[in-house]
């Protein structure tokens, strides 16, 4: 349903993406793994509509991505919350933008807030929230809009180890209830293996697809402890290492 074909992107000084092609089925979660600077953020920004000078094609349900009429969620590295809106107002922002009636969504909003454990933070402003809390607010905002496509840019990388694992697990539990089609980009092998049904490995800049792997331990309870987790992690590490250029 999401088709990316021959996508290339050049900035004035650098080439960011080279001929990336991908095809993702509805309800899949793809992890895109690559080193820093390989064009991951650029790729998501193309899908998010804020970069438009690329070449190649992106289609969602057969047509160009229509951000106005479809719902595309975005969770960024810096969480993307508006500082002058409370946690709650940030969560309902996508609904406001889509001119949806908030009253009819109250149950869903309450449910998501409860599930992510941020009900008590409703009236707090982002300045007074920890990184993990801000992240959960951003995740809540993405889920209340029932996204056709969910884009995540290294969403957990700014969190400490313990908070990161807890937030990843929490995210996964919310995700599997509705399985929105998701692209998660990351430089963390561990994160890609924990959250990616398939893992796309990108090369150093300009990013091109080196390989797409099926993840055998995806969705397993306690995946991190399984031998398969270590196995695929080391396979990925080899792939990333083999792509060294002088």
């Amino acid at each position: 349903m999401l088709n990316i074909s021959n996508l290339s992107l050049n900035y004035a000084q650098t080439a960011a993406l080279a001929d990336v092609s991908l095809s993702i089925d509805k309800g899949d979660i793809y992890a895109i793994l690559g080193p820093s600077g390989c064009g991951k953020t650029s790729l998501l920004n193309i899908l998010a509509g804020s970069i438009t000078h690329h070449t190649g094609q992106v289609t969602l349900y057969g047509g160009a991505i229509d951000h106005k009429n479809m719902s595309v969620g975005l969770i960024t590295q810096d969480y993307g919350l508006l500082p002058w809106r409370t946690a709650y107002k940030n969560v309902i922002l996508p609904l406001k933008i889509k001119c949806k009636d908030i009253g009819s969504c109250v149950d869903k909003i309450d449910y998501v807030l409860e599930k992510l454990g941020i009900s008590e933070l409703r009236n707090r402003y982002p300045v007074s929230l920890s990184g993990g809390q801000k992240q959960r607010v951003a995740i809540a905002a993405a889920f209340v809009m029932d996204p056709d496509l969910l884009l995540m840019d290294e969403p957990f990388s700014a969190l400490d180890q313990v908070t990161r694992e807890a937030t990843q697990e929490l995210f996964f539990r919310v995700w599997e209830e509705s399985c929105p089609t998701t692209i998660l980009v990351t430089h963390s092998i561990e994160e890609a293996v924990f959250l990616g049904q398939k893992i796309v490995v990108l090369s150093r800049a300009p990013g091109r697809v080196i390989q797409i792997l099926d993840n055998p331990v995806f969705g397993c309870p306690d995946a991190r402890g399984l031998p398969g987790f270590a196995a695929i992690s080391s396979e990925l590490r080899q792939l990333l290492k083999s792509d060294v250029r002088p």
Binding site: A48, H67, T76, L82, P83, I97, V127, M145
Partner: protein, 248 residues
């Protein structure tokens, strides 16, 4: 509550220090043009019979209107100047060219055109106060990090929504941060414009007392004008407390 007590302590300490410096200056200079602050304070109640409220009201009104217009114009022009449209292209050189003009010197022109009216005084204060506001708003809107727009773009927000949800709140934050400086400037200019062709206002009251060589009354007028300014400062603090909570 705790904040209120801190404010009260700060106010008391500040007032005591001002009185102390004033008293020392009075003793050191020992001239009749600088009376003791206590003599001046004792003269305050007597002023109440002197229409002091009417004078203070007129000054308040002029400052209030001028600040209101300045912020409104500053917001609109500043945001427009931050854009990429034709307006921004025309406005930027205009701002750079007119910024260094000593705008106070335009007072005679403004009074010739608008006469000895309240409007002339409000326009004069506005002309001076509005410039820095325009520049601050323009710069703050230009400084909005590009990523701020990314989520809204992704949700498919239109131009009007981007303006309402990002540009406007951001610009309002910028304006409030300059409100105290604007107020200080407005009070200074107020004194100046009320010196010419005014029969009402604290500026007139102070200069009138000066002409009559009634120095105690002159200083009393300065104290009242300062208190009015202080009240407006507190008002800005309160507005900031309510609308800028998000800055933490």
């Amino acid at each position: 509550m705790k904040k209120g007590i801190t404010a009260l302590v700060n106010f008391s300490v500040g007032a005591a220090l001002v009185l102390a410096v004033w008293q020392i200056a009075h003793l050191a200079l020992s001239v009749n043009v600088l009376p003791s602050p206590f003599v001046v304070l004792r003269a305050l109640p007597a002023l109440l019979g002197q229409d002091i409220f009417t004078h203070a009201y007129h000054s308040f009104y002029r400052i209030g209107m001028a600040l209101l217009f300045s912020m409104l114009i500053g917001l609109i022009v500043g945001i427009a100047a931050a854009g990429k449209g034709v307006f921004a292209k025309v406005l930027t050189p205009f701002l750079y060219f007119t910024y260094p003009i000593p705008r106070v010197a335009l007072l005679p022109a403004v009074m010739l055109i608008f006469g000895l009216t309240d409007a002339a005084k409000i326009i004069m204060i506005t002309i001076i106060v509005v410039y820095p506001i325009i520049v601050v708003v323009r710069d703050s809107v230009k400084d909005i990090p590009k990523q701020t727009y990314n989520t809204l773009t992704c949700y498919g927000a239109g131009r009007v929504q981007v303006f309402l949800y990002i540009t406007l709140p951001w610009a309002l934050g910028g304006i409030l941060s300059t409100a105290r400086i604007s107020l200080g400037t407005a009070i200074s200019i107020l004194f100046f414009v009320e010196a010419y062709g005014a029969r009402r206002g604290m500026g007139f009251f102070i200069l009138d007392a000066w002409m009559r060589l009634n120095y105690v009354q002159m200083y009393a007028g300065i104290v009242v004008l300062s208190m009015a300014g202080f009240a407006l400062f507190v008002l800005i603090d309160i507005i900031e407390g309510v609308f800028m909570k998000w800055k933490g």
